[in-house]
Symmetry: D2
Subunit: 276 residues, 4 copies
Amino acid sequence: MQYILKIDCPDQKGLVHKISGILFSHGLNMTENEEFVDKENRHFFMRSEVEGELDKEKVRKEILKILPPEANAELFVKHKKEIVIFATKEYHCLGDLLVRHHFGELNANVKAVISNHETLREFVEKLDIPFHFIPAKEKERHQHENEVLKIVKKYQPEYLVLAKYMRILTPEFTSNFPNRIINIHHSFLPAFIGAKPYAQAYARGVKMIGATAHFVNEDLDEGPIINQDVVQTNHAMDAITMARAGRDVEKIVLSNALKMVFSDRVFVIKNKTVIL
Amino acid sequence: MQYILKIDCPDQKGLVHKISGILFSHGLNMTENEEFVDKENRHFFMRSEVEGELDKEKVRKEILKILPPEANAELFVKHKKEIVIFATKEYHCLGDLLVRHHFGELNANVKAVISNHETLREFVEKLDIPFHFIPAKEKERHQHENEVLKIVKKYQPEYLVLAKYMRILTPEFTSNFPNRIINIHHSFLPAFIGAKPYAQAYARGVKMIGATAHFVNEDLDEGPIINQDVVQTNHAMDAITMARAGRDVEKIVLSNALKMVFSDRVFVIKNKTVIL
Amino acid sequence: MQYILKIDCPDQKGLVHKISGILFSHGLNMTENEEFVDKENRHFFMRSEVEGELDKEKVRKEILKILPPEANAELFVKHKKEIVIFATKEYHCLGDLLVRHHFGELNANVKAVISNHETLREFVEKLDIPFHFIPAKEKERHQHENEVLKIVKKYQPEYLVLAKYMRILTPEFTSNFPNRIINIHHSFLPAFIGAKPYAQAYARGVKMIGATAHFVNEDLDEGPIINQDVVQTNHAMDAITMARAGRDVEKIVLSNALKMVFSDRVFVIKNKTVIL
Amino acid sequence: MQYILKIDCPDQKGLVHKISGILFSHGLNMTENEEFVDKENRHFFMRSEVEGELDKEKVRKEILKILPPEANAELFVKHKKEIVIFATKEYHCLGDLLVRHHFGELNANVKAVISNHETLREFVEKLDIPFHFIPAKEKERHQHENEVLKIVKKYQPEYLVLAKYMRILTPEFTSNFPNRIINIHHSFLPAFIGAKPYAQAYARGVKMIGATAHFVNEDLDEGPIINQDVVQTNHAMDAITMARAGRDVEKIVLSNALKMVFSDRVFVIKNKTVIL
């Protein structure tokens, strides 16, 4: 059986030695191991892949005993994640994810797609994924979110993926999924925060445009960044051409971010990610 | 003899035909030619390299006659540009430019380096470039700028290059050199405008940092962008490591921007560049 | 009506003037125009987008009259291309193309998918594209190709796209579609020509892997290159992980190459492409 | 005091635990630590930065005792490397390295520059580095190499850097410096092995060109690759323009490779590098 061990805690001398000692004493094999010390915050991070037979709770308790009291330690069986995807009308990120999913590459089970428009239903259902249209028009924001939340809860997903979901989620909603909601923003954050980043980019005359995958927290576009990339632009591109060029960056940035999150490589400290 | 012809004007039917007709009638050969129409502003841009013997003023007047009255038309002998470089304490952009210059690659003659610190004098003088230290301490901004301007004017440069010049220039100063001052800003503008962009980038936890070469106009960091590039970062990099990684991007972005400007390929329209 | 004009011929003085003169005399508007002179081969290339009402054959003949006798000139209505896609078992390029097609972004009509395996049938048919399984096992190469050709001809495609088609086409087959077959090769050509490029890349310990979209001519992997890109690798990646990382590059490189080909921007001269 | 510990050996269970235990027992602090297991070769790699007071030989012996007999273990004080640079006529890589060196950024002391031409003497001596001109003309290869070796040995460098040294070194020469000679090759290896890679790249019509920094072993251009990067090209670039564009890639690829080598992050296994 393969397990993932994720630890983070205030740094101390000898942590690696002590932790590896416990694993070693149980006859476990560390097939992969990364550590990192954030020197500014004097914080230690460790991610291991462990092979063997073990009693999760017992080993975890032994580990916690030798760690500082503020430590986080997770030990769980390596597994595909259960997810729900939110989308609006744009197909490129959703399409990329569903094709990967269809062929078993996503490292996740897409339980459902939720949208505030009907546009993508036909495509989603062709690929045998349940599609929920929850219109937002003429509804109060909280009412809409409650309807969404009700559907989401039915599926008990580990992560929500906002694949170009063009609505702002309230802190009430996001607080249900701390560091469990991944969004793709269509700019190189913190440039062009907010609406219509390609129109902003065109207006500013930038020579590159980008995309940012990040966890969603209380403040719009301010969550911990997981992945970013850019593509060249030039004077001959208007906002629409930029948007088209940006789509490919968006979908690859999002899918690479998900690859890291779904393989349990991403830690969050304050407003940043550590990726091991 | 080789000439550069740069034209921009409101777009009309048949411009290329009419302009090339004039060149053709003088027996001139267009060895290179690019046009571009900005559809939003309905503005036409053209850059040609022309070979042959010609009376510059005569040909230019003929061309202006067939263009709309608001047209700009420049016709001049292809030549190396005369420049003055401003720097403060950082060596990487200046060093890169001076090495290129030393071996004849810069397409410009560096007439002098001006700095508000003595730090770089030894290096600059080793490479036989005049170095002017104009201290800014305990001086009013305008007094300092006037001293700088006096030195600059002595050299009659076509362009000023701010190679990590860590002082803000006033509109009074910059208005002397419209679209003739090129700056390198150490961020992917418009992200991290202003001071200490690497500290800002570190604080935000971005996964890429960048650099931007732009013309300097009245508003700090708001001038027309010429060139941008980025480099990957990760959680293990602090602000100092980011700054170090950023240096190579800065120097290449600046030198590529200068290559385009000094080969007369850059037009400015409103707050953007068109690069032919 | 919008037309595309593509011209290439030995270079001469005044070509742009003469050609634009003809268009101008017909009251046509050039909404986009690019020229390029290959100085080594002294060859002229031009691509224009022309707006207006015109008699294609008449205008084309007038243009040919003023061009050197070896000239090629095409003048046709701007249109979506008719294509047939070949694939084998891998889904990533095909999936990317079919999603774009489904949402009208591909600038082409996918008439059918042909494969030497059944693997991709279910996916292709879900998206309502005809799928033809033409097994190659225990068949002579020519017999298989004849069967394929028979199906292809039924659809009269303008282009064939090899989206990870893992069979070598004979010159007899490819000669039916000169510069009309686009392949994606999973390496940065000319590195790792031939089979299993990722295994070769892993064995060599390269720090980047790439992909190449090219026209298919008589020699395997030797046709004119349209587009290339790379992605970083490291010591921790084996051939399988490299292949996985390479897939995203492959699909984006192919789709960008098709964007250029299907918008009539690609010329072939000898074994190279000129892209205007 | 800061030490570097580099270990590589056949993989075993519990290596990290045992090694960290020895360091821990001496009261040493691991301020940085990376491990990697090459699963194909079942080989373990570890690099640590260790802080404290220690008896190098004693600690090293203790570590070797718990490792398999084939293990390599190095433990030494963190330090600037002593190097000699070889060049021919091109200035861009050499210039970049000497500017970094001049301002203390190179993490190495450049003891001398050796060249088979006089071209670069003036520049090198301006920056106060000894320059040795050892002409190769009309000399047998071995005689020339012996003269070079004699000079090199005088400086006792830890590394030789070939900054565009346009001569092939014999195995007799290179065997003196196993994994201690770093070369920059002006192509994306293994594409365009051998002479004139830019001419080859132009002839093939590639859409990107690259550079490769690698250790030099017995076979030309076949040594373990340390770093690679590429830059876009297009049909408008001839071999000379490509070479010019390639220079910036070459110098940055070389300098980044040296950064990794000089900070003791690079291991060689068979013909590949592992970089921790």
